[in-house]
């Protein structure tokens, strides 16, 4: 799980062009949207594509996104259970 969290943080930094941030700067329990990293709706689309391309997980129900993208930890848990 720890290695997946680390990998996910690196992918988020890369996909969302979070220049100047390192994986250690991201707390996996902190919210991704609003507070914490302060991501927005365009980032949500980028993260959806990250799940699809990086882990073969297609989000069928957009409502699920709110729960999945709560934090890096919730994303990692979802990936672990649904990775194809």
């Amino acid at each position: 799980m720890d290695s997946l969290i680390r990998q996910l943080k690196e992918q988020i930094i890369d996909h969302l062009n979070l220049e100047g941030l390192s994986p250690d700067d991201i707390n996996e329990k902190e919210p991704l949207f609003g507070e914490g990293l302060g991501l927005d709706s365009i980032d949500a689309l980028e993260l959806t594509l990250l799940l699809e391309r990086g882990y073969g997980i297609k989000l069928e129900n957009p409502q699920e996104g709110k729960k999945i993208f709560q934090s890096v930890e919730t994303m990692a848990e979802y990936i672990q259970h649904n990775k194809k």
């Binding site: 996909h15 062009n17 979070l18 220049e19 941030l21 302060g38 980028e46 594509l49 391309r53």
Partner: protein
Amino acid sequence: MAIYINGAQAISPQNTFLSPEIPKDLIKYDGMMQNVLPDFKNYFNPIEMRRMSRIIKCSSAAAAECINEAEIDTLNAIAVGTGLGCLEDTEKFLNKMIDTNEGMLTPTTFIQSTHNTLAGKIAIDYKCTGANFTYAHKTISFESALLEAILLIKEGNKNILVGGVDEITPENYNLRKHIDHWKEEPYNNLDVCNSNTPGTVAGEGAAYFMISADKTKNTYAEIKMVELYHRSNGISALSKNLNNRLQDAGLSFDDIDLVLFGYNGDSISDTYYHQVKDMIFDNHVHGYYKHYCGEYDTSASFGVWMATRIIKQNDVPENVILGKRKKDKINNVLLYNQENNKNHSFIVLSAC
């Protein structure tokens, strides 16, 4: 009706940004000339910056300093000229289409790839809900935006921001190398006027101007004339038309103190500059500017930036002068740009 330039800032391949004068020491480039970048952290926060490509950052930073310098109360409208728009994001977007076999694409590069991202970003930054124009008219994109601003001022607006922005990327540079846009032999920007071979020097830039109805303490120059011809009908017709238009502006050929040519080192395209120089402006002081910025669709905007400094400082640097003639007082500068006998543009700026 007099129309003034009350702000002028350019990010270019030379140290021009925030400079009150034209840099006398030129940076030499062997190949494509890319902008000298300011510290963008002074202009954008990291969260904002992550979605901005180089051209958007250059454009918005140059626009911000131009607006600051002009000290305006209200920005009425924005008009930006860009030949190729946000190339880097367009390339990323198209490459992703290929990589994913036209699958689902990430939204950011698409959003940022459109030409009007540049003017739109400035409007968002300054909450400018006035008219927002983007002209993508190849080598007269900037001049078209400038004409738009002049019309808007004549309609009663006070302050219009006008920009000329383009970027060169390694991918675009290599593509255009295949169609002989650039010189084949080793060359550098300093030799742009000593070449007798085809092909030019690739460049880029982001120049912004505040076009205003009122003269202020920040005024650089008055815009006396902007004249465009898609094709030249020969030198005598061109001379006659120019003479008439200069007369409309209350000037004559004799009043022009400096002619700034867009020589770009391409022996084919430069032929037309030679003709105009030798047959219309033979007895004038001549200058050129593309050894500073390289060739790009909106490079005329860099020429206008240079003319604002020349008029304000009343000084033409040695490395801008073509030939040996000089003048003590520079009141009227005529800029001439064209591309292979197409899109001839003539702009006259005057001291005021």
